[in-house]
């Protein structure tokens, strides 16, 4: 579904050029849930932004559903296949657009028909009642906003969903709700996930496989089962595991 090979992403021009991602390669199969973990600034989210074309300073090879993408421009087919859920639900909804406006515009842009009916279905599928349809973001809680953002991402009925720390801005109890919603949606719709997180527990719960990133490089790929057993091969991944366990125990 998603193939990334020798991906380099950088910001700025020399001499101030910063290499955010260096030589990253991984493959995500259709229907799989893949995690990207690492500390802040390790380049996890940058990879997602390069895939979606929000960053155009990258080199290497990115293929989505067998189709290579280039630079910043993305085709209509790409937008229908790949969607993204952003980290901060307080920043990812337009403050002056109601839920109805957000969803109807998205459906319109994606060339969907029966927009009224679809909005109702979408809201139901993310666990928001019809009563939320005409609310503005400031009338919603963080978890509700993230549900709207997920509904927006699902509007085009994509196959690949990029999740950029979808729960890190939420309360712990709301986190669980959103994670369960995402897991249910994946099961019902056969979605492929690429999930970025710094929370190993979340990734272990949500993903089949994961890659550990550090300083812009992928240091290790492992299965979620290996993660749960603490069987990391590289020193850094082992440190990360120990650190998160210490944190969880403390």
């Amino acid at each position: 579904m998603l193939t990334i090979k020798d991906l380099d992403v950088w910001f700025g021009h020399p001499p101030e050029r910063v290499d955010a991602v260096r030589g990253a390669s991984f493959v995500v199969a259709r229907g799989e849930s893949f995690g990207l973990v690492g500390e802040s600034g390790s380049g996890k989210s940058t990879i997602l932004r390069a895939v979606t074309g929000l960053i155009d300073t990258w080199s290497g090879r990115i293929e989505v559903a067998g189709q290579p993408v280039t630079g910043r421009h993305r085709s209509r087919a790409f937008h229908k296949t790949v969607q993204m859920v952003f980290q901060d639900p307080y920043a990812s909804l337009h403050p002056r657009h109601s839920v109805d406006r957000v969803l109807s515009e998205t459906l319109h842009l994606q060339g969907m028909d029966r927009i009224d009916q679809r909005i109702a279905t979408l809201l139901d599928s993310v666990g928001l009642g019809r009563g939320f349809r005409f609310r503005y973001p400031h009338q919603l809680s963080g978890g509700q906003r993230q549900r709207v953002a997920i509904a927006r991402a699902l509007a085009a009925e994509p196959q690949l969903l990029l999740l950029d720390e979808p729960t890190s801005a939420l309360d712990v109890s709301v986190q669980a709700e959103i994670l369960n919603l995402l897991a249910d949606l994946r099961r019902d719709r056969g979605l492929t996930y690429v999930m970025v997180s710094h929370d190993l527990a979340v990734v272990a719960h949500m993903c089949d496989r994961l890659a550990v990133m550090r300083g812009g490089e992928i240091v290790e790929e492992m299965t979620a089962a290996a993660l749960r057993q603490g069987a990391a091969r590289s020193d850094y991944a082992r440190d990360l595991l120990a650190a998160s366990r210490g944190y969880a125990a403390g």
Binding site: T52, G53, L54, R74, R76, H79, V82, Q83, M84, F86, Q87, D88, A91, S92, L93, H94, P95, R96, H97, S98, D100, E105, T106, L109, Q110, G129, G131, F132, F134, R135, Y136, H138, Q139, A149, R152, A155, A156
Partner: protein, 301 residues
């Protein structure tokens, strides 16, 4: 207003697009109404609108009728605000002048922010050389004092109220462009813009549907606060003889007429001055209240 209408407007879960929109408007009105001074400003401006609308019926005398026998009379029962050097009733002239003031304010308020919004958002959103060209042009306009530039325009176009308004509009857009560009720069990398981009939204849709609504509110506030300055600039041009031409009862020109007699017959200059002062103050108060309602960074979030 009945209790049901109120509940309908303030509903947490509006059922239709219309209800949601009316509800948002009503919320804004409640915020605005809580600001007593802003309400005062609104009342004064509504009164001004009323006076301008019904000027011929409200003014006690013909504003152009001269009566040299009655020149420079102090305020009295016959002439509530006195008469000017040609014996014209100052109150009647003020009432008719309100139309001119509203014309000036309205035209400038329609033209300048629109130019500014367009230039600023395009510059901020496009970036690169488009930004450079548009913003350096803005800088050139900003480099001259506003009134001097307006004077140059009027001198080139010829004196008259229409040209004065045009000159004011053309010279007052740069600050709006700067403001709109600054707003755009903070918005354009926001996640909600990125999300819309990911849905395939083109630059024109992003600009008009997503960026303009967020810039417009701060522009409206700024325009309301600038109105006072615009009235004063128009009065300044009138004072210099480049705005309204005699015998038009433009307030600035009326002050200019009264200047000669200011020590002995103070009311000739003071009455139009007072009118400008009250209207400018009203616009400032209104702008302050609008800021509470419209500022997207305000307490409603």
């Amino acid at each position: 207003m009945t209790e049901t209408t109120r509940a309908w407007l303030l509903s947490d879960a509006p059922q239709t697009r219309r209800q949601a929109r009316m509800g948002a408007l009503y919320q804004g009105w409640l915020t605005f109404r809580a600001n007593k001074l802003a309400m005062l400003g609104l009342v004064i401006l509504l009164a001004l609108l009323f006076v301008a609308g019904f000027a011929p019926w409200l003014s006690p005398q013909n504003p152009f009728a001269q009566n040299l026998a009655d020149r420079l009379q102090p305020p009295s029962a016959a002439h509530w605000l006195g008469t000017d050097a040609l014996g014209r009733d100052i109150l009647s002239r003020l009432i008719h002048g309100s139309r001119i003031t509203l014309f000036i304010v309205g035209t400038v308020a329609l033209v300048a922010p629109v130019i500014g919004l367009f230039v600023g958002t395009v510059a901020g959103f496009a970036g690169g050389w488009v930004d450079q060209v548009l913003m350096r042009t803005t800088d050139i306009f900003l480099a001259f004092p506003k009134l001097i530039l307006a004077l140059a325009f009027v001198a080139a176009l010829g004196p008259g109220i229409g040209n004065a308004v045009l000159a004011l509009a053309v010279t007052s857009w740069p600050p709006y462009a700067r403001l709109a560009r600054a707003e755009t720069l903070t918005i354009r990398n926001a996640d909600y813009i990125a999300a819309a981009r990911l849905q395939g939204a083109g630059p024109l849709r992003l600009l008009i549907g997503h960026i303009w609504p967020l810039c417009v509110s701060s522009l409206i506030v700024r325009v309301a606060l600038d109105m006072a300055g615009i009235i004063l600039s128009a009065a300044g041009l009138g004072f210099l003889g480049l705005g309204a031409q005699p015998p038009m009862p433009e307030w600035g020109a009326m002050i200019s007429d009264g200047r000669t007699y200011i020590l002995d017959f103070w009311w000739v200059a003071a009455m139009p001055g007072l009118a400008i002062f009250i209207v400018s103050l009203a616009f400032n108060l209104l702008g302050d209240g609008l800021r509470d309602v419209l500022d997207p960074k305000g307490g409603a979030e």
